[in-house]
Amino acid sequence: MLSFATPTWLLGLLLVPVIRWLHRGGPRLRTVPVSSLALWRKAATPGPAAGARRPPDPAWRRRALLAALLSVALAGPRLAVPVGRVTLWVDDSLSMLTRESGGTRLETGLATVARELSSAGRSDVEVRTLGNPWQARAGLTPEVVAVLVKEAGQREPAPPPAGLRLADRQHWLLTDGADPRLTGPDAGAMYARVFRLGEATRNVGVVRLAARRSLREPDRLDVELQVRNGGDVVEERVALLESGSGEVARWPLRLEPGASVSRSAVAPSSAGLRVVLQSRDALEADDTLALDAQTLAARRVAVDARCPAAILAALRTHPALRPAGVAAPAELAVECGASVGTAAVPRIRFALDQVPEALDGPWTWSSNVGAAQRRRIEGLPLRAAGRLAPRADGDSQLLAVGGTPLIVRRRTGGAPLIETALDPESRGGVDRPAAPLLVALLVDEALSASLLDAVAVVERDAQSVMVAPRADPGVVTTSVGRQVTQSRDGTRPLLVAALLVLLWELAALLLRWRRERVDAEAWSR
């Protein structure tokens, strides 16, 4: 079906008969001088008969074509062409792994779509997932189906980005409808067909598991878990918290539809923690949640024996550190005059070669030091017990007081080296020793981590445990899908064609001009 954006321009087609009329005089013949016309009497062409017209100049067709092409191009023709290419968007959220009577929702839905594509004769199909929309897969082959099933539930789905909503393709969606964001008014309008599936409505899943070091018991972890009922009926479950050494805690849970409950426990330090819901449901993938607690393990520290007792005490009381012998492999070394670590190990070096003296002058912090740490240190009555070597290229000054550097990060080419001239034995009073906070700051800088605030968390989107479909299952063909054709702009091809005809006309005029110029020069002599 052909339509025009501005049909008024089609009036330009009236130029065609005008051009034909202007060329009624016949072609402009090439003039050839001869020595005598008497030689060519028999080659003379008969003139038009009485009442007959001369044939028009054939160039009128080329010029009329140019005018017609320009007129139609300016009218903005739009041609309806059938849309044959399909992009299948697959909802790869966790709920698509819900097991139904014939398998998981994803497997069942992909099989349904494959049958539909085959029956519709669509061969140009690309498959994208809502979790990773920028990766396209060609065709819905068994290999692609296997990859989709394997990778489902690993990323949070989102509506397709605008850059991929191409108008020259039909967009199909496979979803269970459990996440209303994916089929909302904005995203849903682009789909020609929506395959909805899923009948299960009951599910309980673990959505969060977090752990941190216990401040009271250095060898234990404070654990918190959260369970949510994603179904539409009241559910009862038993949650088990397990560590590497066995079961830690057990809670019987009763959850209202859509409600969440949290439970806390203290668990022994372990490399991993796991929560398991007993009495499993259709979506087994969210019944278990495992946490890697390796990041919460205490770091081994090698300490110089000449370090003051205040430093040793501070290291022992730090919940994330465990002093080790000089011979044992350490992750951090603390030196007070002697070397106890290699360049491959982060080191803290105290310069204690002078009589302590009070600090005098404004404090200058590096922007790398956090504001909370600054406030902790600035409240202490610190003294300087040594003098640091001048700063070299690549060194960064973390703290200076009155222009005197007190904490410096040295550039060694290996692990970080933190040097300080602050006196760890400074005391503001009996209850406020400076060493623990100072050591905590130095350790965090040396290890580039915030050890006191470390929390290990694993969680999943609360929406991911919602499995109840928001609409009845089936295949919905939208108004977009009923449009079996798409409008294609035909202006550009017509303009290209007009340009070619124009070049043709210019070439013909140039040839005639050259020929006539040669003839004119010959005659002018």
Partner: protein, 299 residues
């Protein structure tokens, strides 16, 4: 259309002219004038007692005519020429119409070369020779004279001639009125005028002792460097004719050209005019010698 070379015509060199003159001398010296009004004319190079000029020795010359003084001075054999008792006047008429300028002016170049050679040969024999270029009227004239110096005047006249590219017809009959006294006439023309200029030749014949007509032609005259429908323009009259250029048209033009030559030749045979159709592709020496040999039987 090829660009005509209308600069100074490339006239034959001295060696070519001398070679041609020696052959032509035998053909011209023993010629018997048979035309009406025949009479004896004076100052013709030949066998006589009045010394006329000198020239280089050629095999066959009388040894007793060698001028030993001039031979010693010029370091080459020189013979004396004597005034013949039967010298005559000649007028060479050269067509300068526009039809001579088409197709690179090949016909004009050939005709100018032939005219120069005829003048040289006749002057070598002691004749008085004049040159007359004609178009719509007389366009240039070199009055009759004799001797080598006069040949230089002829060459100067020829060098100043340039045929017009268009609008210059041939009026040979009108020029006949410019002939005074008895003279033999040689006409170089393509005879592409009305009636093959037979009426003009007849008028000219009335005013001359003998008449030679050399029809200059070029094969390219019957070819068109274009195809399809063309607008033909007669370079002399400016008349136009719509035609379709193809191989058939060229063949028809060839046939028409042959018919025109045939009619002209028949007329000349009946009228006692020495006629030769000259395709400019042929060398002028061969054409002129054949013409003079043929003219001995005609004139």
């Amino acid at each position: 259309m090829a660009q005509p070379d209308l600069n100074r015509p490339a006239l034959p060199g001295q060696a070519e002219l001398q070679s041609f003159a020696r052959v032509a001398a035998h053909l011209l010296a023993e010629r018997q004038v048979r035309a009406p009004g025949m009479r004896t004319v004076k100052r013709r190079a030949g066998v006589g007692v009045q010394h006329l000029d000198h020239r280089d020795y050629a095999p066959g010359d009388e040894v007793r005519h060698i001028d030993w003084r001039q031979t010693a001075r010029r370091q080459r054999p020189i013979v004396r020429q004597f005034e013949s008792e039967t010298v005559s006047d000649w007028v060479v008429m050269l067509d300068q119409s526009s039809s001579m300028a088409v197709h690179g002016a090949a016909k004009w170049q050939a005709a100018a070369s032939g005219a120069a050679a005829m003048c040289y040969a006749l002057l070598e024999l002691g004749h008085r020779v004049g040159l007359l270029a004609f178009g719509r009227g007389v366009r240039a004239e070199c009055r009759r004279g004799r001797g080598r110096n006069h040949y230089a005047a002829v060459v100067r006249t020829l060098g100043g001639l340039r045929p017009a590219l268009a609008g210059e017809p041939s009026d040979l009959g009108g020029c006949a009125r410019r002939l005074h006294g008895d003279a033999s006439v040689v006409v170089f023309s393509d005879f592409l005028g009305h009636d093959e200029m037979r009426r003009d030749l007849a008028a000219l014949l009335e005013r001359c002792t003998s008449l030679h007509a050399l029809q200059v032609g070029h094969a390219a005259e019957t070819r068109l460097d274009a195809a399809g429908d063309v607008d033909l323009v007669d370079v002399e009259t400016g008349a136009r004719l719509g035609a379709h250029a193809d191989a058939g048209a060229a063949a028809a033009a060839d046939a028409e050209r042959a018919a025109m030559t045939r009619r002209l030749r028949s007329f000349c045979e009946r009228s006692g005019i020495a006629f030769t159709a000259w395709d400019v592709q042929r060398p002028w020496q061969q054409t002129l010698i054949e013409h003079l040999a043929r003219a001995r039987d005609v004139c």
